[in-house]
């Protein structure tokens, strides 16, 4: 089968935009509906080993951050064990991290809240600069300890100060908090194929059945709990051929 070969040629970074409109070619279409088998590719599952973008120190800080933003509890893992840091690493290593799809022409000015983010730094660079500043801040304030080595209470205080803008890391006060919170939540709830939501634990926590595609039998079963466990894209029977 051709599928494994195609998977090989897809880089892990390019998966979200494998069918990028800018990379496609002009075509003349006539005489019938064109047919290109498997034209749009499924995403390639993330290999959780190692880091693609973060340095080891950065990765440790991000793991510590995501594990306080979404702490573990007896039923559901926290952000670290569920894979949020791996998710963020793979995302910032790819087109999301470089803001490839966004309008990034200058000049850059801050506007009103209603005009939306005007950050010059794409997410990957935002992380690099903010994590360096976080490290400097923690070492300066907590006896040369990096963020990951602090107590949970100290970490929570710093996150609260990032949220309020009291510790001004990132492009603007509060901007790094927003960035890392959004990315962490996405890693928690996105399909496990992207490296987070390991074992679909986040979906199990809320009762979301995932990538099932047919609830015909359930539309008129009112006020009844859906009994089946979630499935992910990579679990789909069509992938096992």
């Amino acid at each position: 089968m051709a599928r494994p070969n195609r998977r090989k040629v897809l880089s892990a970074m390019g998966l979200a935009l494998a069918a990028s409109p800018l990379s496609a070619r002009a075509a003349v279409i006539e005489g019938g509906m064109p047919w290109t088998p498997d034209r749009t590719q499924p995403p390639q599952p993330v290999d959780p080993k190692g880091w693609r973008y973060f340095t080891q120190e950065e990765a440790e800080a991000v793991e510590a951050l995501v594990d306080r933003l979404i702490p573990p509890d007896p039923e559901t893992p926290g952000g670290k064990d569920i894979g949020c840091a791996v998710f963020i690493d793979r995302q910032v290593a790819g087109p999301y991290g470089s803001a490839e799809a966004l309008y990034m022409s200058g000049p850059f000015h801050d506007g009103t809240k209603q005009q939306g983010p005007q950050a010059h730094d794409p997410p990957a660079l935002h992380y690099r600069k903010a994590l360096a500043a976080l490290d400097k801040y923690c070492r300066g304030s907590f006896g040369d300890k990096p963020f990951a080595a602090l107590s949970d209470q100290q970490k929570d205080q710093i996150i609260a100060d990032l949220e309020s803008g009291k510790v001004p890391l990132g492009a603007k006060p509060g901007s790094f908090f927003k960035q890392v919170l959004k990315d962490t939540q996405q890693g928690f709830f996105a399909d496990p194929v992207y490296g987070g939501n390991r074992d679909m634990a986040a979906w199990k926590m809320i009762g979301f059945p995932g990538a099932r595609y047919d609830y015909t039998d359930w539309v008129d079963r009112h006020n009844e709990r859906y009994p089946h466990p979630p499935i992910g894209i990579a679990d789909h029977p069509d992938w096992k051929g």
């Binding site: 069918a19 409109p21 800018l22 496609a24 070619r25 002009a26 075509a27 003349v28 279409i29 006539e30 005489g31 509906m33 047919w35 498997d38 034209r39 749009t40 499924p42 995403p43 306080r68 933003l69 702490p71 559901t76 999301y96 490839e100 799809a101 966004l102 309008y103 022409s105 000015h109 209603q114 005009q115 939306g116 005007q118 996150i159 949220e163 919170l181 996405q186 996105a190 399909d191 194929v193 986040a202 926590m205 809320i206 009762g207 059945p209 990538a211 595609y213 047919d214 609830y215 015909t216 359930w218 539309v219 009112h222 006020n223 009844e224 709990r225 859906y226 894209i233 789909h236 069509d238």
Partner: protein
């Protein structure tokens, strides 16, 4: 230097709903038709697999099916005192890209506008008097009536297989349908979709308060259907991955599932994908289009000569291309003169979050379709007396929650919930199955004002070095009052359903380019009775260039309290009908200026 292609009879810019309809109608006349489409070819079988279409990150958050701002964006400001800044990532609306256009990623909510929506200005002045309207409001009559459009609404619904319950059949009110709708000549082609628990409960709560709830007209089909072109569609499976996604089940009405298979069989039709139209070319008189200039994905420039030009891009890009082509006079908000860019509108959407006792209510929010929902229309248009309220306009409201996708659904948390930490996690866990939140539950109208318009940005450019479009847009008191009133009524229904806590979210100003409402941008090249008041006549024919027809919501003088696609489709058939029955016999202006 552009290479010149052999002439065609018709060149169409954009292959979404209106481009597909016009292409099919004109190809039926035996004309040689070519469509120029900026984005890629897309089709169900090759692009939307039920194995991986249900991917919230890829399609909902990373916007795979949409135009990328890197390719084309616009700038935004609330008013003329501000400096507009680029929209760097999409927020308030989403812009489709590729074959199918917005018809691919829409929810398929397939409404008709009210008869009085088409005669809005004269109706409101007659009922309430001119002084009841705000001074700077610029609403207009459409120049076409509901009665004239009815056969064309019918054609669009039968093309799509729309699932619904008629409320007014040839003037007779039908139980279970929308009693406020204009008379329809026959029932919907397929019965209404079944409703999940939360939507059913909303219908009951609304009925308890004396309203007349009805199922939302849906382009996600309740049963298999073969349309008049012989194209077959399947039954919707309530997968909960509809809007922002392509449908892998052939169940969502889109150009791909209703018209393109028939169109592509026409030997006199050709589509060119990954080709961006950059200009409509005019002859020396400036009164006649000679064709279209476009750039392909390699950067090569081509000229496609044609006798008839159909501009069928998204609303913003219709307006932009008219401006870039020097067609019509650009609107000046200081003098009120000029037609291109005026009467820009969007939607005034609001919502309420309803939290129910999780021990008693389990909604399974993931069981849904894009156009699911029970709605009421008591507060739409002029269906109620506005006299005591001091505003005009309205909207339908309903539980139209279309999904339980976690990243979208988790935004509905009780007030006071922290944004992170153990308490956030608990709140997400404890509310997911027992909360109702439809982001566009109250679908308010957006009327037009002198100060809301489109023109060219003086600073920011696209990748060809051309000016970006600049949007100057804010909400006015009329719309904010309307939103507050409607949202109060909406919240009362959730209370009647037994919600423990209802959090009202009326629309507040200023207009925010980051807050998603709908993708229903309207106006900028509006229909009018005279060339002074708009860009196109009642047949969507350019007043300035009679062999140019401008399709879509750019022609709406203002936006009603409904989703626009039903009306966009009806206008396309109406315009195509005028071209076929009148224009082709006597090419020239169909309405005397």
């Amino acid at each position: 230097m552009a290479r010149k292609l052999p002439p065609k009879d018709v060149v169409i810019i954009g292959l979404g709903w209106t481009g597909s309809i016009l292409a099919h109608e004109l190809a039926q006349e035996g004309l040689e038709v070519v469509a120029i489409e900026r984005g890629p070819w897309r089709d169900t079988a090759t692009d939307f697999s039920p194995a991986f279409a249900q991917d919230e990150l890829r399609y909902r958050l990373r916007h795979e099916l949409f135009l990328r701002p890197a390719q084309m964006s616009l700038t935004f400001r609330n008013n003329r005192d501000q400096t507009a800044l680029p929209v760097r990532d999409w927020g308030a609306f989403m812009l489709g890209n590729g074959v199918g256009g917005g018809g691919l990623h829409w929810n398929a909510e397939t409404w008709r506008f009210l008869p009085t929506d088409f005669t809005l200005k004269s109706h409101l002045v007659q009922r309430y008097g001119q002084k009841f309207l705000p001074d700077d409001m610029t609403i207009q009559d459409w120049g076409v009536t509901y009665g004239e459009l009815e056969p064309h609404y019918d054609r669009f619904e039968y093309l799509c297989g729309t699932s619904g319950q008629a409320g007014n059949l040839k003037g007779t009110i039908q139980a279970g349908g929308n009693p406020f709708e204009g008379p329809r000549s026959r029932p919907y082609p397929t019965p209404a979709q079944k409703q999940p628990f939360a939507h059913t409960l909303f219908g009951k709560g609304a009925a308890d308060l004396g309203y007349k709830p009805f199922p939302q007209p849906s382009g996600n089909l309740s049963q298999a259907y073969t349309n008049p072109l012989g194209v077959e569609m399947g039954r919707c499976t309530y997968c909960g991955f509809c809007e922002w996604f392509g449908c892998a089940n052939y169940s969502k009405a889109s150009p791909q599932t209703t018209i393109l298979p028939a169109l592509l069989r026409q030997p006199n039709f050709t589509a060119r994908t990954e080709c961006e139209a950059t200009k409509i070319l005019l002859d020396k008189s400036g009164k006649r289009a000679t064709g279209v200039l476009f750039v392909d994905s390699s950067g090569a420039e081509w000229e496609q000569p044609a006798e008839l030009v159909i501009l069928a891009a998204f609303q913003l890009f219709n307006v932009q291309l008219l401006m870039l082509s020097g067609i019509g006079q650009r609107y000046d908000p200081l003098t009120g003169e000029g037609q291109i860019g005026r009467n820009f509108s969007h939607q005034t959407v609001s919502a309420a979050m309803a939290f129910f006792d999780k021990k008693k209510f389990n909604f399974n929010p993931f069981v849904a379709s894009g156009a699911i929902g029970m709605c009421i229309d008591e507060f739409n248009g002029d269906n109620f007396d506005h006299g005591p309220h001091g505003f005009v306009g309205g909207g339908y409201m309903g539980n139209v929650q279309s999904n339980g996708r976690p990243l979208e659904t988790m935004t509905a948390l009780p007030p006071g919930t922290p944004q992170w930490g153990a308490k956030w996690k608990e709140a997400v866990r404890d509310t997911y199955l027992s909360t109702i939140y439809a982001g566009s539950g109250v679908h308010g109208s957006c009327y037009t004002y002198k100060t809301n318009y489109l023109d060219f940005d003086p600073t920011y450019k696209d990748r060809f070095g051309r000016p970006l479009l600049r949007m100057t847009m804010d909400f006015h008191d009329n719309e904010l009052k309307m939103s507050a009133f409607l949202t109060d009524r909406y919240a009362e229904i959730f209370k009647a359903m037994g919600a423990q806590q209802v959090v009202k979210k009326p629309r507040k100003g200023p207009y925010d380019i980051t807050q998603y409402q709908t993708s229903h941008l309207c106006g900028g090249a509006i229909m009018s009775a005279t060339p002074k008041d708009g860009a196109v006549n009642r047949y969507l024919q350019s007043w300035d260039v009679p062999n140019l027809f401008v399709q879509g919501a750019s022609g709406f003088p203002q936006n009603a309290g409904y989703n626009p696609t039903g009306t966009v489709g009806a206008l396309a058939f109406w315009s195509a009908g005028a071209i076929r029955s009148q224009y082709l016999k006597h090419p020239g202006p169909l309405v005397d200026a």
